[in-house]
Symmetry: C2
Subunit: 744 residues, 2 copies
C-alpha cells in the first residue's frame, strides 16, 4: 500500500487544512501522463470482460456495510473475525470485536477509556466569547505565576539577603517585558486572523529554516510546559500534603498518563471545564496578595526580615541575569491567544486582541503582586514548600482557604499542561503537511484526535519529567530557551511582515514587534548563555537535532515523491519486443519465454503496462509435503514458467530429494543447490540474484510456502526461513515475493 504517500504524491489542494484529505491531488502534467499510461494499457485490457468475470454482486461493496466498518484495536490489532457468511453474524464481524481473549479485553478497555469511534464529519468548531476564551487560553500563561517568581527567587537566594534585594527591579523588568511582548502579539493577531503560530509566522516571513527553528523551539516549549506544569502542580499538592513528597515522580507520570488518555479520547476545549479552575486561581492569588498587602500596610510596608541566609555565590551581573532568565518563564504561554484567533466569536481578531490585553494585564498584576508580597513578607524559596504555598499559609492560615488555593493552583497547572496537548500535535501536523515530519502525524485517530502527536508528547514529557526527577528548578533552564527562541523568531517574522506590507499602521506595528523581538532575543541569549551548563545545552542540542532531522525528512519525502511520480521516462521508452496486438493473445499453457532482447533494460524497474512484464516463478521447496505441494500448485496454476529450487546440505540428500521428485513425476523443472556449509537462505538468495543477473528482463516471482500457526507461541518452533528470505530479497530489483500460507 502506498497510503504512506498521503500528501506526498502531489500538491495538497488549496491552503485550507482538511485533516481528512489523504488523497494527494495530481497536477496537470500528472493527469496528462496518467491518460497516456491508460492508452498504453488499452492495448492489453478489456475492462468490461474483466468485470463480467468477477464474482461481484452489486451488494458486495456493502458487505460489510461501509458505514459499519470501524477501526479497531491499538493500531496494529486489526480485528479479523471469522466471517461465517450468515448475515446474522455480520454485525459482530464487521470489526467490532477482535478475536482472542486478549484482543477483546484490549478492545473493551479502549472503548471504555476512549469512547466509541467518531466520524470525520463530527469535527465541529466551537466559537468562544471573551469571558470563556480568557480562562481557556490564559491557563498556560497565568499558571506560570506558580513557578516563574519562585524560579527567579531560587537563583537570587544563592546570593543571600543581598541577592534577594534584586527581586523587585528584576520583576519590574519582566513586567515590562510582558507588556512589550503582549503589545507585540497584538500586532500578530491583526496580521494573522487565521491563527499565527510561531512556525507559520517565522516560516512565512523569514523562510523555511527559521520556521523550522521556531517549530523546534515550540516543540521543546510544549514538552517542557507539560513537564514543568506537572512538576509545579505536584509541588503545589505536596506542599499541602508533605507525606506525598516522596511519590512526586510516580504521581507526575500518572498525571501524564491521564492527560494522554483524556486527549486520545479527544477532550474538546470545553469552556466550562476550564473556566472554573482558572478563575478560582486568579481569585485565590488576588486574595492572597490583597491579604498580604493589608498585613504589610498594618506595619507600614516595612519588609519582614528574611531568615538568615548563607550566600553561596557573590551577587554579580551573572547571578542577576540568571535570575532574570528564570523569572521570565512566568510569561510562557503568552502566545496562546495569537494562535487561536479563529476560535473567537466574530469579529475574531478584535475579540482576540481584547482578550489578550486582559490576560496580559492579569498576568502583570498577579506576577507583580506575588513578587511584592514575597518581598514584604521576607519569604524564601524552600525545597519542601512552594513560595505560593508559603504565601497562602501566611495569608490564609492552614484552613479551607489555603487548601482551595493549592487545589486551584494544581488544577490550573493541569489545564496549562493540557493546552500543550492541543498545540503540540497541531505543530506536528503542520510540519507533516509540509513534509518535515513523518506522515503518521497527519493521521486523525478514530476519536478525531491526532493520536500519534499526543502519544509522542506524552512520551517526551514523561521522559523529561522522570529524567529530572520532577523537579521544577532543574527543568526551568531548559524551558526558557525554547520559549524565547520561538518568541524571537515569531516577532522577527512580524517585523519583516510589516516591512513588506506597509499598510496603514505599519510603522507602529513594526516598532512594537521589533521591540518584542529584541527583548525576547535578549532573554533567549541570556537564558542560553548563563544557563548553558545547567541544562540549556540540552534544549540547544534538541533544536539543532530537530533542524537536521526535519530537513532530512523533507529531503527523503521529496526523493520518494519524485520517484513515485508518473514520469515521461517510464512511459515513453519504446517497448522493445512488443509484438503489437499479438500480445493480447492468450499465453500458451506452457509459454515460451522470449529470448532477452539485446537492448533489454536491465536494473530499471520501469514496466508500467502489463504486456511488458515477463514472468518467471521460483519456488524454494524443502520437502514434498502439503505446504510445498500447495506452493508448487499455486505457481503452476499461474500458467507462467516455474522453476523449483531445493537447497540440500550434501549430495546424498540432494539425490534423495531428486528421487522423490522423479517419483512425483518431475512435472516442473528442478534445480538442486548443494550448500556444504548448511546455510539455506544465503544460497537461495544468491541463486535468485544470479538468475536476475542472467535475465534482468524477467520479473521473478519468488513463491514461498509458509507454515502459519494460529497460536503465536508456536511460531518459535518453526523455521523463520520464509521471513528471512523475504527480508533478504526485499532490496533486490524486479523480485516479487508471494507467500502461500499453510494453516496449522
Amino acid at each position: 500500500m502506498t497510503h504512506a504517500q498521503s500528501g506526498v504524491g502531489g500538491e495538497v489542494r488549496g491552503g485550507a487544512l482538511s485533516p481528512s484529505a489523504v488523497l494527494p491531488g495530481l497536477d496537470e502534467e500528472q493527469l496528462r501522463l496518467l491518460r497516456r499510461v491508460g492508452r498504453e494499457w488499452g492495448r492489453v485490457s478489456a475492462p468490461e470482460a474483466w468485470r463480467r468475470a468477477l464474482p461481484l454482486d452489486s451488494d458486495l461493496g456493502r458487505f460489510p456495510p461501509p458505514a459499519e466498518i470501524r477501526p479497531v484495536g491499538w493500531g496494529r490489532l486489526v480485528s479479523v473475525s471469522p466471517l461465517g457468511g450468515q448475515p446474522s453474524t455480520l454485525s459482530e464481524a464487521v470489526g467490532e470485536l477482535p478475536p482472542g481473549r486478549l484482543g477483546r479485553f484490549g478492545y473493551h478497555v479502549r472503548r471504555v477509556v476512549l469512547g466509541a469511534a467518531l466520524k470525520s464529519t463530527a469535527i465541529a468548531q466551537e466559537r468562544m466569547r471573551k469571558l470563556v476564551a480568557l480562562p481557556v487560553l490564559s491557563a498556560d500563561a497565568l499558571s506560570s505565576v506558580a513557578y516563574g517568581p519562585e524560579a527567579m527567587l531560587a537563583v537570587l537566594v544563592l546570593g543571600g539577603a543581598a541577592g534577594l534585594t534584586y527581586s523587585v527591579p528584576i520583576a519590574a523588568t519582566i513586567a515590562f517585558l510582558m507588556l512589550a511582548v503582549g503589545v507585540s502579539y497584538r500586532q500578530t493577531i491583526r496580521a494573522y486572523p487565521h491563527g499565527g503560530g510561531s512556525y507559520i509566522v517565522a516560516g512565512d516571513n523569514l523562510g523555511r529554516v527559521p520556521g523550522l527553528i521556531a517549530a523546534a523551539g515550540l516543540m521543546t516549549d510544549y514538552i517542557l510546559t507539560v513537564a514543568v506544569s506537572i512538576a509545579s502542580g505536584v509541588a503545589a499538592i505536596t506542599s499541602a500534603v508533605p507525606s506525598l513528597a516522596t511519590d512526586a515522580v510516580p504521581i507526575g507520570v500518572g498525571v501524564i498518563a491521564l492527560l494522554l488518555a483524556g486527549n486520545l479520547r479527544g477532550i474538546r476545549q470545553a469552556g466550562a471545564l476550564f473556566a472554573a479552575p482558572t478563575y478560582a486561581f486568579i481569585i485565590a492569588v488576588f486574595a492572597l496578595v490583597a491579604v498580604g498587602l493589608v498585613d504589610a500596610a498594618g506595619r507600614g510596608f516595612r519588609p519582614t526580615a528574611a531568615p538568615h541566609l548563607n550566600a553561596t555565590e557573590s551577587v554579580g551581573v551573572l547571578l542577576v541575569m540568571r535570575a532574570f532568565a528564570s523569572g521570565a518563564t512566568a510569561m510562557t504561554g503568552i502566545e496562546a491567544i495569537s494562535n487561536a484567533v479563529p476560535a473567537f466569536k466574530p469579529v475574531e481578531w478584535r475579540n482576540a486582541r481584547t482578550t489578550l490585553t486582559w490576560m496580559v494585564g492579569l498576568l502583570i498584576v498577579l506576577f507583580a503582586g506575588t513578587i511584592a508580597i514575597v518581598h514584604l513578607d521576607g519569604v524564601v524559596p524552600s525545597t519542601q514548600e512552594t513560595v505560593l504555598s508559603q504565601l497562602a499559609h501566611r495569608s490564609f492560615g492552614s484552613g479551607p482557604l489555603y487548601v482551595l488555593t493549592q487545589a486551584a493552583t494544581a488544577a490550573v497547572l493541569l489545564l496549562a499542561a493540557n493546552t500543550a496537548y492541543n498545540d503540540f500535535p497541531r505543530v506536528l501536523f503542520l510540519l507533516a503537511r509540509d513534509r518535515h515530519a513523518p506522515q503518521i502525524f497527519l493521521r486523525l485517530g478514530d476519536r478525531l484526535a491526532f493520536s500519534n502527536g499526543i502519544i509522542l508528547l506524552s512520551l517526551a514529557a514523561a521522559l523529561v519529567y522522570v529524567a529530572f526527577s520532577g523537579m521544577t528548578a532543574s527543568l526551568i533552564p531548559l524551558y526558557a530557551v525554547g520559549v524565547f527562541l520561538a518568541f524571537t523568531l515569531s516577532q522577527a517574522g512580524m517585523v519583516v511582515h510589516w516591512w513588506r506590507l506597509r499598510d496603514r499602521h505599519w510603522r507602529k506595528s513594526l516598532f512594537f514587534n521589533a521591540t518584542g523581538a529584541l527583548l525576547s532575543a535578549v532573554v533567549f541569549l541570556t537564558a542560553g548563555l548563563t544557563k548553558f551548563t545547567e541544562g540549556a545545552w540540552v534544549a540547544v542540542l534538541a533544536v539543532g537535532l530537530f533542524l537536521v532531522v526535519t530537513m532530512r525528512i523533507r529531503h527523503h519525502y521529496e526523493t520518494v515523491s519524485n520517484a513515485l511520480r508518473l514520469h515521461r521516462h517510464a512511459i515513453e521508452l519504446p517497448t522493445p519486443t512488443l509484438p503489437g496486438p499479438d500480445a493480447t493473445q492468450p499465453p500458451a499453457t506452457t509459454p515460451q519465454l522470449p529470448e532477452a532482447p539485446p537492448d533489454a533494460r536491465t536494473e530499471e524497474e520501469d514496466e508500467e503496462t502489463p504486456e511488458e512484464i515477463r514472468h518467471l516463478s521460483v519456488v524454494p521447496i524443502a520437502t514434498m509435503d502439503l505446504a510445498g505441494m500447495r506452493a508448487l500448485a499455486y505457481a503452476a496454476s499461474l500458467h507462467q514458467p516455474v522453476l523449483a529450487v531445493h537447497v540440500s546440505p550434501e549430495e546424498d540428500e540432494a539425490e534423495r530429494f531428486r528421487e522423490y521428485w522423479t517419483l512425483w513425476g518431475d512435472h516442473l523443472p528442478l534445480e538442486v543447490v548443494v550448500s556444504p556449509y548448511r546455510a539455506i537462505v544465503a544460497p537461495l538468495v544468491h541463486y535468485i540474484e544470479a538468475l536476475h543477473a542472467k535475465r534482468p528482463d524477467l520479473t521473478l516471482t519468488v513463491i514461498l510456502p509458509e507454515i502459519v500457526t494460529m497460536r503465536r507461541r508456536y511460531r518459535l518452533l518453526h523455521s523463520r526461513i520464509a521471513p528471512r528470505l523475504r527480508h533478504a530479497l526485499r532490496p533486490l530489483p524486479k523480485i516479487v515475493i508471494t507467500t502461500v500460507p499453510f494453516h496449522v
Copy 2:
C-alpha cells in the same frame, strides 16, 4: 519454506544420528500418495516444454559455484551483495562479504572469533586412549572436590563445633555412595556401548515421561555445572587475589562469554589441552593431602582445635541430611564416562570401564583426603577464602606451590564447565530429534557446533550465575536436585533393562544398578526436601515446566506433521468441475471465472493440483503513483481476474479517486470502500473476508504495492500498511499475499 519441518514430515531413517540429515524420509504410504498426486498433475503440466521455456543455461546451477556458497552473518544477517554479473566480482559476491559497514564489521569479527566455516564432511571422531580419556572425561567429576567438601562443611558449621564432628561419618557415607554409583555406571557402560546418557537409558527402559524428566534433570545439571564450576573457579582465584573479590560477577560472566565464543568456534575435546590442568589438579590435591597428613602425623593425628564457633542451629537429623545432600555434589560428573563410550579406543566398553574405575578411585581418594585433613587441621569454611585455598596455604605457605594449586583448581573447574558445553547441546539435539524441542537445535552451525544449544546454555548459565551473584553456596541447593534426579532415573532404567534382558550377569548388574538407583533416590529426596526453601524449589519447578513444555512441543509438531502429510482426503476427493483435457486449454486473456460449483468445498485448503485453483487478484491501491501502477500492471500481467480496491475516508475523496481512475481509462474493475472512521487496514481486511465468504472456491491473491527504502532509518517515514495488512490476512484461509516492491 518448510525447512521448518526437518525431521517432522516423516521418519528419520535408521537410528544413527546424522546431524546433517535434514530431509525427512517418506514412508511407503507417502510415496504411494506422492506418485498419485503426480498422476493428477500429469494432466496439466508438460515438464519438457516448461523446461525449454526457462532461461536456464547448464552452468546456472554453478553460478555462484555451490562449493563457494557460505553461510554468513549472525543467523539473520544474510549476505546480499549486488551481483554485477561479471564473473570477476563473483568471488566477492557469493556471500563472503555482507553489504554495509556494520555488516562487514560483524562479518570480520565473526570470522576472527569463530574462524572460517567448516564443511559437513569435516566431522571427525577422535578416539582416545585411557590416559587421555581420564583427564578429558573426569575433569567434571574430580573438580567437584573443589566445592563438594566445602558445601558440606558450610552446612555443618551452622551447628558449631558439634556440627563439624559429623564431617567424617558423612564423608564416609558419600564415599560409599560414589563407589556404589560408580559400580552402577559400570553396568551401564556394558549395556550401552554406544553411549548411555540418562535421557536415552531412562527413555528406552522407563518410557517417554521418565526420559523427559531425566533430560530435565540433566539440563538443569549442565546449566548449574557451568554456573557452579565458574563460581568455584572464580572463588579459587579471589582466594589467591582477594582484591578481585568485588568483581566476581563480571569476571564469571566474562568467562562464560569466552566459553561461548570458544564453543561456537567448535573446540574439540583436545586431549592435550585437558590433560595438563586435570593432572596438575590431581597432583596438587594429592600433595596437599600428603603434606597435611605428614604434619598431622607429627602431632600424632590429633585434630587441631577449630576456632571458636557460634552454633546458629542445633545439630539434628535435618542439619546432617542437608550437609549430606550438599556434600553429595562432590560426585557430580561421575556419569560422564558412560555417555562417551564410543570415544574410547577399541574395545570401547572395556576401556571405558577401566577408566571409570580409575576415576572413581581418584575421586574417593581426593574427596576423603580433603575431608580428612580439613578435620585434622580444624579448617572452617570462610566467605573470603575457599577451604581448598586454606588447606593449600597451610601445606604450601603462600609461595609458587600455593599459586600453582589455585591455578590448577581454577583451570580444572573451567574445563568442567566446558564439558557441559559438549553435553547440553547434545541432549537438546536428541530432544529435538524426538520432536520434544524446537527444531533449531538440530541445526549444526557453520563451525559444525550446535550453536543454538551453546547459546542457550550460555544465556541460562549467565542468568543463574548473575541471579545468585556468583556465590557457590547459594547455587549448591539447586544443583543436587537435578543431578540426582537424572542419576536415579538412569539407574532405575538400567534395573528394568537387566530385568528384561536377563543375560549372563543380569542378577549382579541388576543388584548394582538397583543399589545405585536407591541411593541416588535417597540423595535426590534428601536434597529436594531439606533444601526446598533454599532454592531446590527452583530446580523442581524448572523440571516440571520443562516436562510440560516439551510434551506440548511434541504434540504441536505431531499436529503439524499430520497436517502436512500427503493424505488421502486431500487427493482423492472428486474434483467437482474438472472439465478433463479442456483444462489444459490456454486461459483467455480475460478469463471467465466459472460459477462457484454447488458442492464447492469452502473453508478447506485442499487443492493439490494446479487445475483446481481458481484465481482472483485483489490490488489495494491508495494513489495512482508508480508504485500503485506497477502493482496493477503486475496483477494484470498474470492474466487472471483482477479487482482494485481503494479505501477512502469520505465520499468526496472517493469521487476524486474515481475521476483519476476514469481518466486513466478504467482498465480494471474498481471498488471504492468509504471508511468514515479513517481506518484503512480494517476495511480492506473485511472486504477481502467478505469476498472469501462469498466465493470460498476462489484463491484470492492480494497484491500489495510496497515502498522499500534502502536505508533502514527511513522506514519509519512510510506507512506500515503493507506489513499490517500482511499480518492481518495471514490467518485467513486461501489468501495468498504478494508484495510488489518499489525501491526508493
